[in-house]
């Protein structure tokens, strides 16, 4: 809260509750107040292919192939069981992709 001051413990619990229910959903970014304006991770601005959609609201017109959405999951282990997973089954999936912004075309589709 920036305006009301929570004084006792219950007030602080309510503050936490409000923050938890009203704040943006922010992957991999926990604790502390969220900076504004907020740029979600995975936005194409930072070249983390992942959560963006095209102008029509789908994925067909994206500037990158949709399978590249998996890249972010793969690198950061964001999903609990992403496919491809780099721990067990596809340790070399990004072996030919030294720099994502340049080499993203070298990442192949995966058919488990």
């Amino acid at each position: 809260m920036r305006r009301l001051r929570p004084v006792n413990r219950k007030a602080r619990q309510i503050d936490d509750h409000i923050a938890a229910t009203q704040g943006d959903i922010v992957g991999l970014q926990q604790g502390g107040p969220q900076p504004r304006p907020h740029i979600p991770m995975g936005c194409s601005l930072v070249f983390m292919p992942g959560w963006e959609v095209d102008a029509a609201g789908g994925t067909a017109g994206l500037c990158q192939p949709v399978e590249r959405d998996l890249y972010d999951c793969y690198v950061t282990c964001f999903w609990p069981a992403q496919v491809p997973d780099h721990l067990n089954n596809y340790p070399d999936w990004t072996a030919k992709c030294a720099t994502a912004t340049k080499d993203w075309r070298n990442i192949d589709l995966v058919f488990p």
Binding site: R3, R5, I14
Partner: protein, 469 residues
């Protein structure tokens, strides 16, 4: 858009700052923008856009206005028809036991006229029951506690009476046994007792100090006040016997704060004099006061004027307490520290206390009662240590005492703390443990308002002190 209106809140000022105390138990300090919003909505319901425009027209920036209104809605200071209704929150079941009050005996060597166990308003029916708890019952009670308290890291055993120390040998055995039981389960067990102090001996004091047992002494002040009602069976006052023993206790037992517990009656309302004597002349760490529990027609019952006198003196002590707190010193007026603790936690009680829930009293016969005040009363027994608690009776007791059932309380700002007041007092006054204690509502509200102000002043001027709670 749904019109917004102020929701229920007790607003107050402390140290020149505005605060709000909410039915949730939360305390917020309000910025000017929030006060303006409340003022605007008190003039008439507005929708969110109108409220924002009203705030902006009064010089609040658009961003601040929006944040203020959103936060006030979240805190439930304001809301529309869509504001979620209060939830009925029944206690978690099963609710693990935390505190066992063992009435080691129902016998006492004093004959205080106002005693709720023996006096005119007693609920106990001890006829034909054991006068002293035996070892088998005590052992079964401790076993019962540890079975029922599964999952708790710490449990408490409080020894009570009658006069607790009339069965000191049993107390010693229980302490020894409970420590073993606690160690087996990796739990911690805390002990405390209440006594009238007349039977303290050097040996007992040594034991209490060595075992780190919390002690509360029932005592009503200097001799001229204490001896009005706290007398032996022959009418002789008890102060002369108690005072030297209490001094010896306070000199030796320094591991825990030793408290005096004062019962206020019609002729014993000199709170300031009593506090001064017990705190400074005798040296108690803490002194707490409670008006006698009685039906209103007893001669020793405190009338409304007496209670006003008491509140006036409580106010004086509470302000002394605040001054001590601002200097980071302890004061010892436990009525204030107990209330501040609950305010700081932000409690919002479904029941006035843990009786029949996290706490039970066990009488010498092994009967389980909601608390020590109902021990030995057939009408209120909830079960027996050998067979456990009768869940239907327990549910009935808890249902009666639930705040949702006390309609008179539903518009009172003090209900998160009071929840209708003592079950036992309600039974003595109204014949129903679930009846709100309407005879002291005004008093409780004044007291709560006073403690909120003291809390706000400490929060504004020395917030670090609140870490004690």
């Amino acid at each position: 858009m749904t019109p917004l209106a102020p929701l229920e809140a007790h607003t107050f000022e402390a140290a020149g700052e505005p605060f709000a105390y909410l039915p949730s138990g939360a305390v917020f300090q309000l910025p000017r923008s929030a006060q303006l919003a409340l003022d605007l909505l008190r003039e008439g319901a507005l929708d969110q856009q109108e409220l924002l425009e009203g705030l902006i027209a009064r010089g609040i920036s658009a961003g601040e206005a929006e944040e203020t209104v959103e936060e006030m809605r979240g805190a439930r200071l304001i809301g529309g028809e869509d504001a979620a209704p209060a939830m009925e929150e029944q206690p978690v079941t099963p609710f693990p036991l935390q505190t066992l009050v063992l009435n080691l005996t129902n016998q006492c060597n004093l004959s205080c006229q106002y005693c709720y166990e023996f006096g005119e308003d007693r609920v106990a029916t001890p006829e034909g029951k054991p006068k002293f708890m035996d070892w088998e019952t005590a052992q079964a009670s401790v076993d019962y506690l540890f079975v029922q308290a599964a999952g708790r890291r710490a449990v408490s055993i409080t020894f009570f009476g009658g006069e607790t120390l009339m069965n000191f040998r049993l107390l010693e055995r229980v302490v020894e046994y409970a420590k073993v039981r606690a160690a087996e389960g990796g739990q911690y067990v805390d002990f405390s007792l209440t006594t009238n102090g007349t039977l303290l001996t050097p040996e007992i004091i040594e034991f209490l100090a060595n075992e780190n047992i919390g002690v509360t002494v029932s005592l009503d002040g200097p001799p001229e006040l204490n001896d009005k009602l706290r007398v032996f069976a022959n009418g002789r006052g008890s102060y002369g016997v108690i005072a030297p023993k209490v001094r010896a206790l306070l000199a030796r037992h320094t591991t825990r704060p030793i408290a005096a517990r004062v019962t206020l009656t019609a002729e014993v309302t000199d709170v300031l004099g009593i506090f001064k004597h017990l705190k400074h002349d005798l040296g108690f760490t803490e002194v707490g006061f409670a008006p006698v529990t009685t039906s209103s027609n007893r001669l020793y019952s405190i009338g409304p004027q007496g209670l006003d006198r008491v509140l006036e003196q409580f106010r004086f002590l509470a302000e002394e307490y605040r001054d001590h707190a601002l200097r980071n010193e302890t004061h010892g007026f436990s009525n204030v520290s107990d209330t501040l603790t609950e305010i700081h936690q932000g409690v919002n009680k479904s029941h006035p206390c843990g009786a029949g829930l996290g706490l039970v009293g066990i009488g010498p016969s092994g009967d389980i009662a909601p608390c020590h005040r109902f021990v030995d009363s057939d009408a209120h027994a909830l079960g027996h240590v050998s067979t456990g608690i009768d869940t239907a009776r327990q549910a009935d007791f808890l249902h009666r005492g639930h705040i949702n059932r006390k309609y008179d309380c539903h518009t009172c700002f003090a209900r998160p703390l009071c929840a209708g007041g003592c079950h036992h007092e309600a039974f003595v006054r109204y014949g129903d443990t679930g009846h709100p204690n309407l005879h002291y509502c005004d008093w409780i509200r004044d007291w709560t308002a006073l403690c909120l102000r003291i809390y706000g002043e400490i929060a504004a001027r020395n917030p670090a002190f609140l870490n004690h709670f």
